[in-house]
């Protein structure tokens, strides 16, 4: 399958196997992972991904077709995971195979940019509150 929205683990080896079914000389892959982003509201511990599934699948299929036409990509992988994912978990795998490296790399980049902009998928953050900061209390002077 080249287009997938799933609650199951995304596996890079399976994505590569899908892209390497032909005899293309070049395979490019991008994997997005849950990052422990820090902010004033704490550090991200999990992301919840949801999609408007039928619309998202149509959009992904359109991206697949466009990448073949524009970059001469032979095979495309557009896999996005849904549900609650912990830090370090792969949330998306995008890949592209082509006869030559320039097309595969450019296609891969194009696919992830367009996926983020055009496909109805959303993340919601879960953050852990930062440990309360202890004010650095001036300690009583000893000597000078």
């Amino acid at each position: 399958m080249s287009v997938l929205l799933t609650r199951r683990t995304l596996r890079v080896d399976r994505a590569y196997a899908e892209l390497a079914r032909g005899v293309d000389g070049a395979v490019a892959l991008f994997v997005g992972r849950v990052r422990p982003d820090r902010g004033p509201r704490g550090t991200v511990t999990h992301l919840r991904y949801e999609a408007h599934r039928p619309v998202a699948l149509t959009a992904l299929t359109a991206l697949d077709r466009a990448a073949r036409a524009r970059f001469g990509a032979s095979r495309v992988v557009l896999w996005h995971r849904l549900g609650r994912l912990g830090v370090g978990t792969a949330s998306v795998i995008v890949g592209c195979s082509a006869p030559h490296r320039a097309a595969a790399l450019a296609g891969c980049r194009h696919l992830i940019e367009r996926l983020k902009a055009e496909v109805p998928i959303w993340k919601t953050e879960e953050r852990a509150r930062p440990a309360r900061r202890r004010r650095a209390r001036p300690s009583p002077r000893r000597g000078r």
Partner: protein
Amino acid sequence: MARVRVLLFATAREAAGRGRLELTIPEAGARVDAVLEELRDRYPRLAPVLATSRIFVNGESVARRTAPLAPDDELAIHPPYSGG
């Protein structure tokens, strides 16, 4: 009266406190903007979300908010996407 189903995602769902609901609106003026008006009335916190959302009807993007609706249409609120 026309029954319309509404799907709300991400920040829209959080603002409304629910992911799906049904509205009944007068069949005469059954347009996208009438549904949005009704949603803003019911869920005031949804107003700023709707301002930046795309609207889909039956899986198709709707360019104009004056687009007409038929009974049983499914209207989806898409806040800015954040996949990846």
